[in-house]
Amino acid sequence: VSSRDTAAPDFGKFYEFELAGQIRRATLIVGDRQAARDLVHDSFADVFQRWTDVREPGPYLNTVVLNRCRDQLRRDKRRSRGGYQPVLNDHAEHEPLWDALQALPFNHRAALALRFHEQMTDREIAETLGCRIGSVGPWIQRGLTKLRMDLS
């Protein structure tokens, strides 16, 4: 990374274009509106710092946001184990399907969000998550199976 210098206008448009979709995606994956908004803005900060070096900022932002979602879930898991409760908790409302979705591993949850909210194909999901196309189907099926088990 040569520097975080960049020209503002292009990034402003990029931010405006990507913001809502990225936050919605992150919200579905991490299950917490505030955390999703924060991690997406942190991701924009990452992209901004590398703006002059990134030729395709969209896919790069996708990767950064998903990595931060993954990191957030790991952190939530650790905190949950340690009895830690966030200062601001976004889970005031509980519904079984949503709660069951939040209990899934990252890959399953992300694949389900990309399929059932963004209507992506297996190939698109694989490209977005950076995985083999053959992994997508099993993740979705395992995720759905686990949801059925949890709801039964």
């Binding site: 990134v54 990191d71 650790r78 184990r81 709801l151």
Partner: protein
């Protein structure tokens, strides 16, 4: 689509619609939203901030790798402890008010709020961050007058992204014979404080762009200053400008940052610190218009937020350390300023006691923990330590523990991939055994700390290279001399 899938689609649609997609208040809004370069760091300063992101993970693994490369692999046995030594610590042991206590750049203060009822809810620190992220190739001027009411000026050059179109930015303006673009705002949209806040950009003719960011400098004066700039060297230069002083932005020996969060009832406070002097300060303040307040004789840049009742922000700089506070739930400005006066630099012992619920690691605690974490696990051949870097900042045991095992797991992942490439089944089995030794040590494979080792173990047992390769994703280091390579 079956019933479950339909319900899933519906609940996701509803939850997505509930997402908070508003533009961050620190972004300027308008027809063409812009993000001044120096504002970008403020995105990361907010409540319930995720503990550590990719960069921090990389920092830790960098530390692991840095350590590993100093080790003689022949002296390490699986399960053996570190033979580390403890370098001299640089943590202050002189308690006092944060507002009036200066530190050298290699000292990170441990801070608490010295008022009954306050608890610390988050502790995080980073060290050895790559200084490349903070370019010193920048000309910074501050004007005469009260420090945070005074004009400020920054100039630097950038290489724009491919396809960049300068004409999409702001309005056209002429600087002598130069055709430039200007974005001007009379007031700060969040605080209502008078600016102007002006950004200027023009093409330098060598593929780079000149950038100017200024606060409280009238347009015509700014254009005059801009016309005198010389961009022929990496850092722009300017003849002495009456009413302005050039600011020294020498890099510190090590870039340190810390982040503490506190709570008392509905009141919350976030305190960040960074040791890069005025660059750290301006990274937080950016193009925001501030005004000066004084706490215990120290001038602070105060940022009222009339549209967010109860919320106050402030920045200040003492020596090489710049501080940033974001507070919520305060009934008045006076109450907020009084709280700032209660920020107290404390000793490692008192800090440990104050933050006991978080199981903190203060500088000096890391080595014994590493020795404890190493016990009973197998390490990649070039991992172990001859010397463990002592952090100059505070963190928590759980986060360090997670990153330690994450780093070791990444090392075994790389070892497995190398063995797979070499078609060496024995080395692959050794890598799997190494990962499983972590799980055995942790006991609970479902624990958060065990996330990567657990998933890695499953992937390794499947024999699927792609499945192993994607573990750790981009969080694992990619350098060639890393763990297990």
């Amino acid at each position: 689509m079956n019933d479950l899938e339909s319900r899933l689609t519906a609940v996701m649609q509803r939850k997505a619609n509930e997402a908070d997609v508003s533009i961050d208040s620190r972004f300027r809004t308008g027809d063409v939203p812009t993000v001044p370069v120096q504002d970008v760091r403020t995105f990361t300063h907010r409540w319930v901030r995720p503990a550590l992101g990719l960069a921090a993970v990389v920092v830790l693994v960098v530390a692991l790798v840095a350590v590993s490369t100093r080790h003689d692999p022949g002296t390490q046995t699986p399960g053996g402890g570190s033979t580390s030594t403890v370098p001299q610590l640089n943590v202050t042991t002189n308690p006092g008010p944060l507002m009036t206590t200066s530190f050298t750049p290699d000292q990170a203060p441990l801070v608490l709020i010295d008022q009954p009822g306050w608890a610390i809810t988050y502790v995080h620190g980073t060290d050895d961050l790559p200084l490349g992220d903070l370019s010193t190739d920048r000309l910074i001027l501050v004007g005469d007058g009260p420090r945070y009411d005074a004009p400020s000026f920054q100039a630097w050059s950038v290489t724009p992204p491919q396809g960049y179109d300068l004409t999409s930015y702001g309005q056209p303006v002429s600087i002598g014979s130069i055709s430039a673009r200007i974005d001007e705002r009379a007031t700060d949209p969040d605080t209502g404080l008078s600016g102007p806040v002006i950004s200027l950009a023009w093409e330098l003719g060598n593929g780079r762009l000149a950038n100017i960011s200024a606060v409280r400098i009238p347009r015509e004066s700014l254009l005059g200053i801009a016309a005198a700039l010389d961009f022929s060297s990496t850092t722009p230069t300017l003849p002495p400008t009456p009413g302005f002083t050039k600011v020294d932005i020498t890099a510190p020996p090590t870039w340190l940052t810390f982040e503490y969060q506190y709570a008392q009832g509905k009141q919350t406070v976030q305190l960040d610190g960074a040791n890069f002097g005025v660059l750290s300060l301006l990274s937080n303040m950016g193009g925001e218009v501030r005004t000066t307040r004084t706490v215990d004789g120290t001038a602070i840049a105060f940022r009222p937020l009339p549209n967010e009742p109860g919320r106050y922000r402030a920045d200040w700089q003492l020596g090489r350390w710049a501080y940033y506070v974001d507070a919520q739930g305060f009934s008045s400005e006076d109450e907020f300023l009084a709280m700032l006066g209660k920020l107290k630099v404390t000793t490692p012992e008192e800090f440990t006691s104050f933050a006991a619920a978080l199981n903190p690691l203060v500088p000096g605690d890391r080595l014994p923990l590493v020795q404890e974490l190493e016990q009973g696990i197998q390490l990649p051949s070039n991992t172990p330590t001859a010397e463990w870097p002592v952090s100059a900042v505070a963190s928590t045991r759980s986060e360090f523990e997670f990153r330690f095992y994450f780093g070791i797991g990444c090392g075994w992942k790389n070892a497995w991939l190398a063995a797979d490439t070499a078609n060496d089944p024995n080395a692959k089995a050794a890598a799997l055994a190494g990962v499983q030794s972590i799980l055995t040590k942790l006991g609970d494979p479902q624990s958060g700390v065990a996330t990567l080792p657990s998933e890695l173990s499953t992937a390794m047992q499947s024999g699927n290279r792609d499945a192993v390769s994607q573990q750790g994703s981009n969080d694992c280091p990619t350098w060639s001399d890393g763990l297990g390579t």
